[in-house]
Amino acid sequence: MKIIVAVKQVPERDAPVRIASSRQWIEESDLQFAMNESDAYALEEALQLKEKVGGEVVVISAGPERVATTIREALAKGADRAIHVECDDIGKRDALGVARLLAEAIRPENPDLVLTGLQSDDLGYGQTGVVMAELLSLPHASLILHVEKTDVGISVKRELEEGWFQKIELPTPAVLMIQSGGTRLRYATLMGIKRAKTKELRKVNAADLGIESAPVAVLENISLPHKQRSTQILQGTAKEAAATLVEKLKFEVRVI
């Protein structure tokens, strides 16, 4: 089975983010980046599937030069080779623009499966995979926790709301959006890191793919969120703050 996994590099969880002076993106200097969480689960699902049924795992990522570190991480964890779609204005493109880039780079590979995470932790559009499926004319399913190969295609476990799940049968090739938490993530081994350096990393220039980059939903302005409630921060040592909170819960909220 030939599986392509599309991953995105995003600012590290809990990294302090500052709005850039353009107010259209965030300040990237001094920012640490990491593989988007649900994409890491998509990679893990692909590697486990390959271990069971054989085949190849190809990782693809679109973005500027820094993205190469995330690609190397995927190779170190066990992906066989990689495609880097070089693109310096990735944050300015909307989901359609990014999905077009990835779909065009994936098309000549003719994969059996394309996996990607459910949603990015930075812009959170949550639709790159679904749009890629549409552009590649392939069936898709999102919020997938587990994938199994069947005689006619694949069977996937899909998360529904409020603790419900369902199984879906799909023919292949297909595109799946993987939800976080369905399995355990592996760490790269020292051997894996060493091997990653010798694996193929092919670069494709976004301009060569001939894709329209103008967004149809323009991110005009980034701001700090409006507070939904006025928060009273309780000061002092842990003990003092705890005592104040108990007073509030007793006399103002009246729950104890």
Binding site: D14, V130, L135, G181, V216, A217, L234, A243, V246
Partner: protein, 323 residues
Amino acid sequence: MSGVFVVLEDRDGRMGRTSWEAVAAAVALARQTGTMANAIVLGAQTGQLASEASKRVSGKIVRVEHPLLSRYTADGFSLALEQFIRAESPGYLVFPHTYQVRDYVPALAARFARVLIGDVIGIEDGPVFTRQLMQGRLSGSYRPAGAGPCFVSVQSGAFRAEATESSSAEISTFGPTIEPSQIRAKPGEPFRESAQTVDLGSAQMIVAVGRGIKEAENLPMIQDLASALGAEIAASRPICDNGWLPIERQVGSSGQTVAPKLYLAVGISGAIQHLVGMKGSQCIVAINKDPEAPIFEVADYGIVGDLFEVVPALTEAVKSTRH
């Protein structure tokens, strides 16, 4: 291109709260263009849903009906709405931001070279749509560009569902053409992993724990606080994914939606998926070491500090006040 249509979602034969919230957003959008909001119900038999919708929507109601729409499939729903959009050329399509919408609307929008402006929390003049970025740490304003219908989904709880009484809605039917071979996925029956034994929805007080707890071994500290308060214990997604607490205690878009008198969030940063499940709580208290954590945006009281110091101190303080 004209008209605002809200696409309502069938939840076991009834409309869910999030569909009525989407109606409120559609009304706000229609007001900008001086029109009335219209509604679409989708399925194999939509009579019941259409009459339910006619009580809340003052514009037209369209029943998009086909036997192959009896169960949700991305292919069936996309095809049906694609044909409706090509026939009627609506200006705006508004959806509740549900798992189902996330699964097919981006593909539908792509057929018109559009995107879904998803998980919207506000609509300003223009229209300009506000949605959250960086897991709720920042807000972004989006303006649709170019020609074609505009697809928008609204976050649960962001718009207030209003009970408007209207009986003038004109109901019509639209019959799409769908062949069985066009539906490529075979969906199975919904199931649960285990019997639901905890009803967090009826709890008066909830102590919820998140990634900040670090290890499963630290959970008894949270349990002590919950029992001192007489509260139910709940968790954000990563805790349940790790198997530290059962999934039935998960609060958020993939778990339960709760609105207790007191929601005490310990070591929870407040990702959007968690907030949508608890922000309707009467009083929210957050304990977190990061003063910029989004949980503080919705909290009434906050303690910025190390939960490993604050929680034991709080348990002691609760116990002594109860004696």
